[in-house]
Symmetry: C2
Subunit: 582 residues, 2 copies
């Protein structure tokens, strides 16, 4: 009962805390007002000029900082940080993010219901408010890969009925939705009949297909890249969620001039650890949007009250009486880096540092031991070829900048393997192998053009979206070594060169997350990337390259544990085409 | 599953209905687009130019009308129409209202939990979507009146846990909230801990008191009358709900220029039947607001998507794929009077007329027999006086225009009653009596200045908020006659003059509602008002005068079944002051 809240406002009993001398950013009317914030327990009791007699158990001088609501991230994935929820919270709380809606899509691919449950439990009891969604699209490319779980309507129902689940995570198979395919529509139906949120991913849809996607009951998108798409999606009632990579001057201007703005959010989606540690979280998206011309107070609105309402959090996202006391104090509204962060009325960060360590639930029970994969032999990596001098090979062309690939056909020489059988001579190409790590003895092989020459090899269990064991290398011996290194760690990232294991980054939690502190993991990842550079791996965003190459919904040609996939035409490609001539 | 919805958009299966040639008002971006609306079952599947091959089971030419979402009324009371929910639906559907959030405050006062349950059941199964709130403030003036129920935290919990209850109805005792009184805060707490809506009524609050009210967890107000109050409440995160009587040019301009508008709604609150039948429902509020300068498309937004979101109806309030197919076609956007209304995809009204009769649930079981009141004798109406020639009397001054009253003291002559005891000579004053009708033998008496001379009497069981039996008259004989007429009808409105009963308007359902059709009840009410005029009752809004005079939270002095109440000072007043002199 809010007796003490009202008593404090009326001066009869003390506020728990009064933050004085702040410029309060009001997301309800786009104003900034000098004043104070009175807090009782976990709630804001008063906000504004405090020109009346009142009591306070504690007072804090805000030093003229802007007081903003804590940022609310309406669409993100915890796993991209490779951190446990508690370590993730530690990093993002210091960036002013106090609420996130997490779609545990990666964890769901590896461990399904049990993984989502464990992640949700690990994300509970933190000062960071974590809403957990039920992942909807597992595997990402049904029939083209095998992951650790499979979400049909029954699994979706079980996921949605887990305690503390807030809605259905991004429905990614937009073509299937727009085509009216039963499997995905029946998954969506489970969410609709429970009356909960349904998030979407509508990247390539427009016009009639986009209307079909919306008509299916899906009403958000976080993949839009142009101002035209923004306007089209707003007109259809989508909650449009703009992420860093999709910002532009044109987009900022379109956001500024939208006649109705309550469905616009800024989100992070995936932020890999190095970017997170170096540049920030949702505060970075805000700063980038403002730098591109978005009005700063509006940017705050798009990162606080709008996402809170989207998430149906009715007492979050604004500094006003009755609201949860999630507050950040920032010096520069255009580039928010909080000097202090309060969650539910408690000071949590000061000067970018946690004031108290966060509870760290033990994740070991369910999440360990998830790499069920036989040791990799060099012979697994040999590409058998028909007898002859050459073979016509489908190779993946990579531009070294993005993870978008194209298909090419190359005539490659045929030699003999260790046993004298004809095999492809893959010199000059980067070899890729994907081993199922969920107990199926299957692997796919591919050759990548434009990424060589490379002297060693790397292996990872973090590979979208099935997170099978993915290996890249210039020679089979180092590939097998790296792969076996990862299997031995039961998940992680490993480099090998010249018959020696180099950096190992253990990700023993589902093969996705490290138990280490953020700084430690960051140092490990940097060491790994240095190894890669020395081995000759060069790419503008090498970690994205490694982790997206097995993603069989990403254009144009990728490799999964089942083999080479022509994504655009939804078909397998043979690695070696039937020989021309004879 | 939405297979057919998507099939229709993709041209593979038919739409149930296509409405062609309409100007679609898009509340997501304030635009108007020529096109068609494709409906499948109860849902909009497509909206916009339909320049592709598709099938339709039925087509309709919209004749170039504007297509708007059905209006959504975020705050209203069904009982003020005195109609059953089905009859009410018939009237308002023809006005374009397709969703209402009803606070059964009157029914709750009379019959508590059972009454609310019965009203909710009667409001189910109609094309009109009726959200039912749990009334929160019963009685309105605890300690100053006795109604049929009493809402403390336990009753609030039971009301909120009834199936189909959407939130807590307007918390009216704003002074008690702002003062932090336990009873009302614990009622609010029941709603907050269930995570549901909490509506408010904050009429006289401003500044710190308004912040206290908001801090209590109450976040709407429908009583604001000025642009300043609009801006103040918006800044605090209230959902501001503007009703007809509170519109002005200044208010329209303030709505137009509010930087963030998603918390502005137009609502009806109370609309008595004559006004409802003659002028309309939420469409009238829209038309009035537009006439005062509010942008028409914005007015539609404030009467559709904004209230729908307030009510947490996520698929209501817009013409877009995926939304409920609640649609009205109107010729004039500035004065909407729908030519056709569709609810959940079905045509419901055409040219202001229902296409099919609505189901009419039987309300008799619970709602009848609610006037538990002994017959009224003339002697009950005598005002005993101390012996002497005159007495100093507290009288109610009424201005004949509003229901705001003021207190006056008058020296009145003392005569003898039938038994020879001294009694007040009340000639020239309108006498008012309020008899408890919930089994308590108590009544209050008052004298009203400025409403006479009157020759007969009227009696009603509809009297805010306790709905006791209220009688007004120029002589005790006709007052007793009218009162007994109402008791005999077991609820209703009655006039008597010269020893004869005149018009009788039976309201046998809880003493509040008529089972008659709207036209019949309207004719009865008009006949009653004609009787009143002939008897000498003159007031700008006589029905409001009759029904608000017992309301002990309405300024400044009112009379309940417990007696004369000084509302501003929250105390009883003696009818006769201690005699001056001796």
């Amino acid at each position: 009962m809010r007796t003490r809240v009202i008593g404090a406002v009326q001066g009869r009993s003390p506020f728990s805390l009064v933050i004085r001398n702040v410029r309060i950013v009001n997301v309800y009317n786009d104003t900034v007002t000098e004043g104070s914030i009175g807090i009782v327990d976990d709630r804001i009791a008063y906000a504004g000029p405090m020109d009346f007699a009142c009591q306070a158990e504690e007072e804090l001088d805000g030093g003229g900082c802007y007081a903003l609501p804590g940022f609310v991230d309406a669409h993100m994935h915890l796993e991209s940080s490779m951190l446990t929820p508690a370590h993730f919270a530690e990093v993002v709380l210091a960036c002013g993010t106090t609420t996130v809606a997490a779609d545990p899509h990666e964890m769901g691919n590896v461990l399904g219901l049990e993984g989502v449950r464990a992640l949700r439990e690990a994300a509970g009891g933190l000062p960071l408010r974590v809403l957990m969604m039920a992942p909807s699209t597992i595997p990402s490319a049904p029939g083209f890969e095998d992951s650790g779980y499979d979400v049909g309507p029954e699994e979706a129902a079980r996921l949605l009925d887990l305690p503390g689940i807030s809605g259905l995570g991004e429905v990614m198979d937009f073509h299937a939705v727009a085509a009216g395919e039963t499997r995905i529509l029946s998954v969506v139906e489970e969410a609709l009949k429970r009356g909960c949120l349904v998030d979407g991913h509508a990247s390539l849809l427009t016009g009639r297909d986009l209307q079909a996607f919306r008509a299916a009951g899906i009403d958000s998108d976080h993949t839009l890249r142009t101002a035209d798409k923004l306007r089209e999606e707003l007109a259809l009632g989508f909650n449009v969620q703009i992420q860093s990579g999709n910002l532009s001057r044109e987009m900022a201007e379109a956001m500024n001039s939208a006649p109705v703005q309550d469905q616009i959010c800024l989100v992070t989606d995936d932020v890999p650890l190095p970017k997170l540690m170096e540049r920030g979280h949702l505060n970075r998206v805000v700063a980038e949007a403002v730098a591109l011309g978005l009005d700063p107070v509006r940017a705050v609105r798009f990162a606080t009250i709008n996402p809170a309402r989207r998430l149906r959090l009715y007492d979050v996202g604004a500094i006003a009486p009755g609201m949860a006391a999630d507050i950040q104090l920032v010096r520069d509204l255009r580039e928010p880096r909080p000097e202090a962060v309060f969650c539910a009325g408690r000071p949590v960060c000061r000067g970018g540092r946690l004031l108290e360590p966060l509870p760290r639930p033990d994740l070991s029970a369910v999440l360990r031991g998830t790499v069920r994969c036989a040791p990799v032999a060099e012979s697994d990596l040999v590409i058998p070829a028909p007898a002859g001098e050459t073979a016509l090979v489908n190779v993946i062309r990579e531009d070294g900048v993005s993870a978008r690939t194209t298909r090419a056909q190359r005539e490659l020489p045929v030699t003999a393997d260790a046993d004298g059988h004809p095999a492809l001579d893959t010199g000059g190409y980067l070899k890729m192998a994907v081993f199922n790590r969920y107990g199926k003895r299957q692997h796919g092989l591919a050759l990548i053009e434009g990424m060589g020459p490379v002297s060693g090899a790397v292996a990872l269990t973090y590979g979208h979206d099935a997170h099978n064991l993915t290996v890249f290398g210039g020679n089979d011996a180092d590939m097998a070594l790296a792969a076996n290194g990862v299997i031995e760690m039961q998940g992680g990232i490993c480099a090998a060169s010249g018959g020696r294991l180099l950096t190992q980054v253990p990700l023993p939690l589902a093969g996705l997350l490290s138990p280490e502190r953020p700084e430690t993991l960051l140092a490990q990842l940097r060491a790994f990337l240095s190894d890669c550079a020395r081995m000759g791996f060069h790419h503008k965003d090498l970690m994205s390259f490694f982790t997206i190459m097995p993603l069989a919904v990403s254009p144009e040609i990728k490799c999964t544990d089942r083999g080479l996939v022509d994504v655009a035409h939804k078909r397998f490609l043979p690695l070696i085409e039937e020989r021309r001539g004879s």
